[in-house]
C-alpha cells in the first residue's frame, strides 16, 4: 500500500482594500463566475456583505510579534492555524482567497508566507490584490498609512469605480499610485469588473516573476516626497554582483532600515554563476533563490527596487553599486558601515 501526499502548493490570493472600495464585490464575482475552480475563502469578521461559498472561514486577524521583539516582524497567528487546518482537506478546493479588513497592514500576512514552515510548504502566495476606489483614494492616502501600505504591497491594483471619475482624475490617481509602487499592475474597473484571470492564478509573488514587469516610473521621479509618504527607488548596474558583498550589505540595510522598507525586490547576476538570482523581502524578512540560466543576449543588468518610507536614494544607490564585483573593497565596507549601528 502506498500513500504519497506530495502535492503542489495551494495558491493563495490576498484581497485587500478599504471598506466600500469594492473588495467584496470582486470576491463574489470570483466565486460565482463559471471557471470550474473551487475556492476556500477566509474572510474577516467585519466583512461588508455575505459571501456565498461552500467553504468560508472567519478569521480573527490575530497579529503576533515574533520572538525577536521587533515591531515590524509580525505574523498572522490565526492564518497559520487556518491554513494548516485547510490543508487537511485540500482535495476540496483549488485555491484559497484571503480577504483582509480595510484597516489591515498587509505585512503580517505576507510575512506569514515567508516565516511559517508549514504554510511555506503547503501554500504559495499567488498575488496581493488591492481594490481601491478611484474617487476616494487620494483622500484615503492622505489620512491613512494603511492605504499607502496596501498600495505598496500590491502586485495587482484594481482601480475601481471608474464611472465616478473623469479621465483626468483617473490619470492623477494612477500617477499617485505609480509614485508609491511602480511595479504593480493597474486594472481600471467599474463594479470590480476585471477579468478573473487577471487577479487569480497570476503567480505574481513567485521569485521568478519578480521585476519581470518593467516598472512604470514617473518621468522626472526625483522630486522629493514628504518623509512619511511611501515611495520607491530602483537602481540598475552593469557589472556582475559579488554575492558575498550583496549579502553583507542587504542584511545590514534590512536590519537597520527594515521597519521602513515595505517591499524589496531584486534580480541579480552574480559573478561566477550562470544563473539569475531573485531576491525579495518584506520588511526585514528576506527570501531568495536562483531562477534559471541566463539567456544569450540577456543584458545582465542587475536591478533592485525598494518600496518604503524615508528612502535615502544616494545611500542605497551607492551601496548597490559597491556590490559589483571588481569595485574597490573599501567602498562596500564604507557602505555597510553606514547602515551599522553606532558603536556603543
Amino acid at each position: 500500500m502506498s500513500d504519497t501526499t506530495a502535492r503542489e502548493p495551494v495558491p493563495v490570493t490576498v484581497l485587500t482594500g478599504y471598506l466600500g472600495a469594492g473588495k467584496t464585490t470582486l470576491l463574489n464575482r470570483i466565486l460565482t463566475e463559471n471557471h470550474g475552480k473551487k475556492f476556500a475563502v477566509v474572510i474577516n469578521e467585519f466583512g461588508e456583505l455575505g459571501v456565498d461559498n461552500d467553504l468560508v472561514v472567519d478569521a480573527d486577524e490575530e497579529v503576533f510579534e515574533m520572538n525577536n521583539g521587533c515591531i515590524c516582524c509580525t505574523v498572522r497567528g490565526d492564518l497559520i492555524r487556518i491554513l494548516g487546518s485547510l490543508m487537511k482537506r485540500r482535495d476540496r478546493f483549488d485555491g484559497i482567497i484571503l480577504e483582509t479588513t480595510g484597516l489591515a497592514d498587509p505585512a503580517p500576512v505576507a510575512q506569514t508566507f515567508f516565516v511559517d514552515e508549514d504554510v511555506k510548504r503547503a501554500t504559495k502566495l499567488d498575488a496581493i490584490v488591492t481594490v481601491v476606489d478611484a474617487k476616494h483614494l487620494l483622500a484615503r492616502l492622505a489620512d491613512s498609512t494603511e492605504a499607502q501600505e496596501q498600495i505598496a504591497f500590491a502586485d495587482i491594483i484594481v482601480l475601481n469605480k471608474m464611472d465616478l471619475v473623469t479621465a483626468e482624475e483617473a490619470d492623477i490617481v494612477e500617477k499617485r499610485i505609480r509614485g508609491i509602487n511602480p511595479y504593480a499592475e493597474i486594472r481600471r474597473a467599474t463594479k470590480s469588473d476585471v477579468p478573473i484571470d487577471s487577479v487569480i492564478g497570476r503567480d505574481a509573488f513567485n521569485l521568478a516573476r519578480i521585476l519581470e514587469r518593467e516598472p512604470e516610473f514617473l518621468s522626472g521621479d526625483d522630486h522629493h516626497e514628504h518623509d512619511s509618504e511611501v515611495n520607491s527607488v530602483s537602481f540598475e548596474v552593469d557589472k556582475p554582483i559579488d554575492a558575498e558583498r550583496f549579502n553583507a550589505w542587504i542584511t545590514q540595510v534590512l536590519a537597520s532600515k527594515g521597519q521602513d522598507l515595505l517591499r524589496t525586490k531584486g534580480i541579480l547576476y552574480y559573478a561566477d554563476d550562470s544563473r539569475r538570482f531573485a531576491f525579495q523581502a518584506v520588511h526585514m524578512i528576506a527570501d531568495g533563490d536562483f531562477i534559471g540560466e541566463v539567456k544569450d543576449g540577456d543584458p545582465k543588468r542587475s536591478k533592485i527596487v525598494f518600496i518604503g518610507r524615508d528612502l535615502n536614494r544616494p545611500w542605497l544607490r551607492r551601496g548597490f553599486e559597491a556590490c559589483q564585483a571588481g569595485e574597490d573593497e573599501s567602498k562596500i565596507q564604507a557602505e555597510i558601515a553606514r547602515w551599522s549601528p553606532a558603536p556603543v
Binding site: D3, T4, V57, D58, E62, F64, M66, K88, R89, E117
Partner: protein, 335 residues
Amino acid sequence: MSDTDFLLESRGDAQDLGAWVIGVAFGREGRSCAFALGDGTVRLAEGWQTVAAHDGACLSICADAKDGVLTGGDDGRLMRIDPDGTASGVATYGSKWVDQVAAHESGLRAAAVGKAVHILDGKGAALKSLAHPSTVTGIAFDAKGKRIAASHYNGASLWFVGAKESSPRLLEWKGSHTGVTISPDGTHVVTTMQENTLHGWRLADGQHMRMAGYPSKTKSMAFTAKGRWLATAGADCVVLWPFFGGGPMGKAPTELAGGDGVICTTVACHPTQEVVAAGFDDGLVLIAEVGSGRVVPVAAPRGSAVSALAWNGVGSHLAFGTEGGFAGLIDLSKR
C-alpha cells in the same frame, strides 16, 4: 513485504482511509479505537466502520471521560462517538471552530473554541467558560482533573476547574505558544512554540525552562509514564528532556531513534513503561525503549508523514495514522 513492516503485517490491521488522519484515540473502556479525519468522518478500527461526525473537517479528538471519544470540528460542534459508532452532539458553538478537546475520567470535558475554553460535565451541561487574551491553541487537564492549562499568545493560563472565582494563574513568556501539557505529577507546565522551541514553567517557583535547538516545529510531545522524561517531536530523532535530578535545566536531552535525517512528527508514550512510540515525516512508525535505546520498527515508510499516534490504556495496542490517510492498529501484547 519489508522487514520494517513485520509487526504491522503479522500483528496489525491496516487500512487506507482516504483522508488526512488528524488524530486517533482509544476509548477508556478499552475496546474502541477511533481515527478522526480531515473529511469530517470518524473511522472505528473495528470493521473500519465510517461515522459521519462533522460537516467539514474533524479538528481534534480525545478519549471521552468514561468510554468512546469526543471530537471537535470546524462546524462548531463538539461530538461524542460511542464505542459502537453512535454519534451524538454534545454542544454547538456557532460558526467558530472547536479546535481542541480534552476529557478527564472524573467526567469533565473541555472544548477550546476561539479564545474560550468551555468546561462541560459528563452529561454535556456547560459548567463554565474560561476566557483568554487570544485564541487558545492547546488544552490539557492535569492527572487529577483539578486543573486545566491552556496555551495562547504570550504564554499559558492554568485554571482550577472547580474554583468559584475564575481567574487563572498566568504563565507568561513572550511569543506564540502552540500546544501545552502538564507533567503527570502536576509540577511542571510545558508549551510548544511557533519558533522551534519548547518553554516550561516549574510551578513551585515559576522557574522558566527553555528547551531549544529543534530544526523544525514541535507538534507533538508527551511525558513518559512516571513523568521522568518529556518525549518530543520536531527533530530528526526523538528528543527526550530529563525531568529528574534537577533537569531539564542545564541538562542535555537524550536522543532516540535518530540517524536517518527524517523529522519526527509525532510521539506517544506507553502508559506504564518507559517506552516511546514515534512517527516520522516519511511514514515510519517505531517504538523505542528509553533505558536501552533499543528501537523496534512497527510500520515501514510509505511517503506520507505520521500525523496521529496513540497507545490504548493498558499499553497493549498502538494505533497510527498519516497525512495521506493510511492507518494501522497493532497488537503488541505478549503472546
